[in-house]
Symmetry: none
Subunit: 247 residues, 2 copies
C-alpha cells in the first residue's frame, strides 16, 4: 500500500452496519485511497462483519483511526468536505464530486490536509457535522431517485479523486501504442483489392465501375486499420485467389 | 419515468445473483437510466431476489428485455461498448468511462442506438461477447486492487452518462444522418466472411484458427461501416466465389 501518497482522509461518521464499513474500505482501495477515519461506529470497533466484507482491503480497517466525535476526526485538517444527498441551506459552496476532488488535489498539492465526511446510512450527516465542513459535495443524481448508499458515495468520490490525481489522458489511452497502417500500406491494400476484384468481374456493369472503385477506396480510407488488419486483409484475398486457382 | 429520453441500453450478460441485478437497476435509476437488457440470467427470470433488492427501481426490472444471446441484446445497436476489468489485447479502442459516455452522447445525439455490456460477476465478459463491441470501457482503478463489482461498474458508467448528458452537446456531429450498419448486419457480415474463408482454407493451421477468427471478428466490429459498405463487402465476397466456381 503506497502509504506516503498525499491523499484525503475519508471519515465515516456514525456508520451503522459493519458490512457498509467494509464495503467502503473496498471502494476506497479501488481508487488507491487508504486513510479511513471512523467516528463512533454504532456496533463498536473492531467489527468482524466489516472485516469479512472488506476482504482484500482489510488493512484499511486495521489502520483506521477511531474517534468519538466528528470534530476530533478532522482536527488536523485545514479543508473539510461534507457529502450530502439533500441540498440544505447552509450557505456553503456546493460542489460536484469532480469539482470537489479538483479542489482537494490543489489543496493537498499545497501541503494542506483534507478530509471528506460521509454520513450514517439512513439519516446522513447532522447539521453539527456539516457545520465543520468548508464545502459540500453533492452527487448529481436523478432527483426522482437519489438513493446512493454509503459505499456508493465513497466509490464515486474515490473515483473522482483518482481521476483528478492520476491525470488520465483519456484520448491518449485509446489504442495507445497501436501500430496503425500508413498511407502507403493503405494504398497498396486498396490497389490489391481493386485489381483482384477487377479480374473477378466485380466492377460490373462497366458504366458503374468507376463509382464502385471510388466507393471502395473511400471505404478503406475511412477504416481505422492496423498493420495487422492490413496483413490479414491481404491474406484473405490471396487465399481466395489460391482457392479459385485450385479450381 | 422519462421513458423517451434517448439513452444507452445497459446489457447485463449472464448475471448470476439476483441481488446484483436489483442493485444494478438501482444504480441505473440513480442516474436516470432505465433501459436494461438481460442475457440469460443464471437463475432465470423474473427473479424475486432482484425485485427485493431493486426496491424503488422495480420498474426497470419489469421493463427489462430478456434474450438468450448477447448478439440478440445488441441487435438494434450500431455502437456497443464492453466493460472489462483486465486489459486484453483485442485491438479495440480502450476508453475511460468519461470518454466512452462522451462518445455515447455524440452517437445518441446523431440518432444511433448504443449499448453497454457488463459481464457476469466473477468471470467477466467472454471473448465472444467482447468481439461484438466497438470499444472497451476500462475504469481506471488501482491496479493493485481492481475489484469492482457489477453494480459498482454500472454505477460509475451511469454516473459518467449523467455527467456527459447534462452538459448538452452543441457541436455538430460528423456524419450525422449516416445509415450505419447495426449489430445484426455486422454479425451476418462476419459470419459470411468467416464461413467462406473457412471453405477457402484461410484459417490454417487449425491450431490458430480460433484466434484468427477472433481477430477477424474484432476487426469488423472496430470498423465504422455503413449499410452500403456492408452490402459492398458482401458483394465482393460473393463475386470472388462466383469467379472460383466458373473455374
Amino acid at each position: 500500500m503506497p502509504s506516503d501518497t498525499p491523499q484525503p482522509s475519508f471519515v465515516l461518521v456514525r456508520p451503522q452496519m459493519g458490512e457498509n464499513i467494509g464495503a467502503a474500505a473496498r471502494a476506497m482501495l479501488n481508487f488507491g485511497l487508504h486513510r479511513m477515519r471512523l467516528v463512533a461506529p454504532r456496533d463498536g470497533w473492531p467489527n468482524p462483519k466489516a472485516v469479512a466484507m472488506a476482504s482484500g482491503a482489510g488493512r484499511i480497517l486495521d489502520d483506521a483511526v477511531l474517534v468519538d466525535r466528528t470534530v476530533d476526526a478532522v482536527a488536523d485538517c485545514s479543508y473539510v468536505f461534507a457529502t450530502t444527498a439533500r441540498q440544505r441551506d447552509m450557505t456553503k459552496p456546493v460542489m460536484t464530486p469532480e469539482r470537489a476532488m479538483e479542489v482537494a488535489r490543489e489543496k493537498i498539492a499545497a501541503g494542506e490536509k483534507v478530509a471528506v465526511l460521509f454520513g450514517p446510512e439512513r439519516a446522513g450527516l447532522e447539521n453539527d457535522d456539516i457545520a465543520l465542513a468548508n464545502a459540500i459535495i453533492s452527487v448529481p443524481v436523478n432527483p426522482e431517485f437519489p438513493s446512493l448508499n454509503l459505499a456508493q458515495c465513497v466509490l464515486l468520490t474515490g473515483y473522482e479523486w483518482r481521476r483528478q490525481s492520476v491525470e488520465i489522458a483519456s484520448e491518449a489511452t485509446e489504442m495507445a501504442g497501436t501500430d496503425w497502417a500508413n498511407a502507403i500500406e493503405m494504398d497498396k491494400l486498396a490497389e490489391h483489392y481493386e485489381s483482384t476484384l477487377d479480374s473477378a468481374g466485380f466492377f460490373f456493369p462497366e458504366t458503374k465501375a468507376d463509382s464502385m472503385k471510388l466507393n471502395l477506396r473511400n471505404m478503406w480510407s475511412r477504416m481505422p486499420l492496423t498493420r495487422a488488419d492490413v496483413q490479414m486483409l491481404h491474406g484473405m484475398l490471396r487465399q481466395m485467389v489460391r482457392w479459385k486457382e485450385k479450381g
